[in-house]
């Protein structure tokens, strides 16, 4: 039997989801009543003990959302979402504010342990040795903010970050403790009116992370947030806001998982990044939400708005993403290159298997002079999945000297999947120089045979070829994430070849 036929059969037979994070944690939780109206918004705001301005902001977003229609332009197909049939707020039940990690429900801590995230500082302190071996081995530490359903349960390393002047805390705390910063920046990159899902998020977001790095400060450690959806029928709407003030630098990692369920769960996050003069933000994501089972049932609907604003001169924002999960992915991390000489980067690996549908890409909006951007996208489609790259590169009339390079490569495994590339390019001044390269290829049987003739199993061969294919992007990830991502890529494609 030719290998292609075997591949197809194998994909048909096996349960494509090799999902390892499909456990549910049994803890008591407190939910808002099902459905969405102004009272739900008021309930969430009250739960969070928010000031009046925040409630007003949410209500305005909610009223606007009621007038909006769900977008349909993406190449994804899913049954209509009943927004009244969801819970918009779920929190692990607890009565008082937490003073330390010891007060976090041990069940939640166990959940994060299962995910391989240790919230305990001493364990993190035991961390990874820098691989480059510069001078004495230095501890590599990562400060973690963990979001469980709608609530941030613990943020580590608060004290040390505070010493450096870095603010890293749940956004619900920041709203109370740093209202001036939140009011100044929230919605300044993704306005409440931006799009259907972002507007919904603005009305009902429950928690997320807030980062502020003051002028001239290089954040002393990687910042990381892990998101986990646990409750049934619950939407998760995080809101992340990161500000790098003049000359500041921060690297931020985001990881996501969810339990295995038959029903679809909605996830609509908003991430806003602001980089002032000479500042740099590096934002990395490893998205591993539950992708649904082999019949295409269940899985997360992931409708995310991520946007960075290079507000100052010589600022830089870099997005790196490894997307392996979710039934539906609708996600376009973008950069607005407002400051002169600013730079935007987008490095993406999007893997789809089973019945997953991915419509992802980026927007690079060149407004300032001599702005540059670089887009490297690697899409891998297996099983019966559809994988679309959608990108916009635009140069404003005044954006003289704008430069973009885009390379968009797709790899197909088997013959029941699809890869699509939809590039939009708008150059409104004659000095802009945009380059776009695109390739689509299949893992050829000859390449696989060559590898197995040298002793590799079929799956090792696919893993090797795919990791070679995505190498340019993996190199952009922080070291500890790159190793994790490499494993995740192999797991996601397990059983995709016979």
């Amino acid at each position: 039997m030719p290998a292609v036929q075997e591949t197809v059969d194998r994909v048909r037979q096996i349960d494509v989801d090799q999902y390892r994070y499909g456990f549910e944690t049994l803890i008591e939780s407190e939910k808002a009543p099902k459905g969405l109206d102004e009272d739900t918004v008021r309930f969430i705001s009250a739960k969070k003990d928010e000031p009046a301005w925040m409630l007003e902001w949410r209500l305005e977003a909610f009223r606007r959302w009621q007038t909006m229609a769900e977008p349909t332009w993406a190449r994804v197909d899913y049954p209509k979402i009943d927004y009244q049939d969801l819970y918009y707020y779920a929190a692990p039940k607890q009565t008082k504010a937490l003073a330390s990690l010891d007060e976090v429900d041990p069940e939640i801590l166990r959940t994060y342990e299962k995910l391989g995230i240790s919230l305990r500082e001493q364990e993190i302190l035991a961390g990874v040795v820098r691989p480059d071996g510069e001078g004495a081995p230095e501890e590599r530490r990562v400060a973690v903010d963990a979001v469980f359903d709608s609530v941030s349960v613990a943020t580590t390393f608060q004290a040390e970050l505070k010493k450096a002047g870095v603010i890293f805390m749940p956004i619900s705390h920041a709203i109370r403790e740093h209202p001036e910063l939140v009011q100044k920046y929230l919605g300044s990159v993704v306005p409440t009116s931006d799009n259907f899902f972002a507007t919904l998020n603005s009305a009902v977001f429950s928690d997320g992370s807030f980062v502020y790095v003051p002028p001239g400060v290089r954040c002393p450690m990687e910042l990381s947030t892990y998101f986990r959806i646990n409750e049934k029928n619950t939407g998760q709407f995080e809101r992340t806001l990161i500000i790098a003030d003049k000359g500041a630098y921060v690297s931020y990692l985001e990881g996501c998982t969810a339990p295995q369920r038959d029903e679809n769960q909605l996830h609509a996050a908003v991430v806003e990044l602001i980089a002032h003069d000479d500042a740099e933000i590096k934002y990395s994501t490893v998205q591993n939400w539950y992708p649904g089972n082999s019949e295409g049932q269940g899985g997360i609907y992931n409708f995310v708005t991520k946007r960075g604003d290079c507000r100052g001169r010589n600022s830089k924002i870099s997005w790196t993403q490894v997307e392996t999960g979710s039934a539906i992915t609708w996600k376009y991390p973008s950069c607005i290159l407002r400051g002169d000489n600013s730079r935007g980067e987008f490095y993406s690996i999007a893997i789809s298997n089973g019945y997953q549908q991915v419509d992802s890409g980026t927007k690079m909006i060149h407004l300032g002079k001599n702005t540059t951007s670089r887009v490297i996208s690697k899409g891998i489609a297996a099983g019966k999945s559809q994988n679309t790259y959608r990108g916009l590169i635009s140069a404003h009339r005044k954006a003289t000297g704008a430069r973009n390079f885009t390379a968009c490569d797709s790899l197909l495994i088997g013959d029941k999947c699809g890869a699509h590339t939809v590039p939009y390019v708008e150059a409104k001044n004659s000095s802009a120089l945009f380059e776009h390269e695109a390739t689509t290829s299949k893992i050829s049987e000859d390449v696989l045979f060559y590898c197995v003739q040298r002793g590799l199993s079929q799956e090792e061969a696919v893993g090797l070829v795919v990791n070679g294919f995505v190498k340019d992007v993996l190199q952009q990830l922080p070291m500890e994430f790159a190793v994790e991502a490499q494993k995740l890529i192999s797991i996601s494609l397990e059983g995709s070849v016979g």
């Binding site: 039997m1 030719p2 290998a3 075997e6 050829s444 049987e445 000859d446 390449v447 045979f449 060559y450 590898c451 197995v452 003739q453 040298r454 002793g455 590799l456 199993s457 079929q458 090792e460 090797l464 070829v465 990791n467 070679g468 294919f469 995505v470 190498k471 340019d472």
Partner: protein, 252 residues
């Protein structure tokens, strides 16, 4: 002399067409067998079926390797057992450094044989030694597998892997195609250095030229999916004179 490879009455189909019609061949340890014949006689099919390439259906006959049923094994098991195919057109694998590929493959074979993985220092030592022996610059190993390699470099990379994996059966599929005379000599020297009393070679070629450098013990002529004549190394020279036409007629 003990038999390394025994092919008995092998019949092979691709889709609805029979390519090999009952081929028989025995290669003993320490021997070099050359298989010659015109295009479409089934030479490459034979090499692919021995290595286990998908897409071929064996309808009759057997292949024994050191007495074991080779056709019952997956291609990667065959590799671990010591079957090595040097490809006519080695593939390119972008983004995978040659060094990484060699190490992954070597350790996969060792694991399949129940041996411990080779440590990094031991592996590097071995690679260095083999590269020196074959006069291969180590810089080549930093590049993606065969990516941007010249024809000569690709073939040398095949010989390098042969030397590194130490297989007991080496099948060289048209190693001379696309090589100039100097590159051919270098590759052939590499192969000759690997000739040992325990190892057998099957050298597939159109032309006698390669056999000036890799001198065979036995020469077989294939035509229409069968071995139609076997003889000593002088048979190759004879063929160079008279061509394949005589066998075409006989087989028809």
């Amino acid at each position: 002399m003990s038999a390394l490879l025994e092919v008995n009455n092998l019949k092979v189909r691709v889709e609805d067409r029979e390519i090999l019609h009952g081929l028989t061949l025995t290669v003993n340890k320490g021997q070099v067998h050359a298989i010659m014949g015109p295009n479409g006689s089934g030479k490459s099919t034979l090499s692919h079926v021995i290595a286990g390439k998908p897409g071929y259906e064996v309808t009759d006959g057997e292949i024994l390797f050191e007495g074991d049923d080779l056709l019952a094994m997956e291609p990667d098991e065959r590799a671990a057992k010591g079957v090595f195919l040097a490809f006519q057109y080695p593939v390119e694998i972008p983004g995978v450094a040659t060094m990484n590929f060699l190490r992954t493959a070597l350790n996969a074979q060792r694991k399949a044989r129940g041996e411990a993985e080779m440590s990094t220092p031991d592996f590097l030592k071995k690679v260095r030694e083999v590269c020196t022996r074959l006069n291969i610059p180590q810089d080549m190993l930093k590049r993606g597998v065969n990516v941007g390699f010249s024809g000569g470099e690709k073939k040398r990379n095949e010989v390098l892997q042969m030397a590194l994996f130490e297989p007991s059966l080496c099948i060289l599929d048209e190693m001379d195609s696309g090589l100039d005379i100097d590159a051919l000599r270098i590759a052939a020297d590499g192969v000759n250095a690997l000739r040992t009393p325990d190892r057998g070679f099957v050298v597939i070629t159109h032309y006698q030229r390669l056999l000036n450098y890799i001198v065979p013990d036995v020469v077989h002529v294939m035509s229409h999916g069968r071995v139609v004549k076997s003889g000593g190394k002088e048979l190759a020279l004879e063929l160079e004179e008279s061509g394949y036409a005589q066998f075409e007629d006989k087989a028809a």
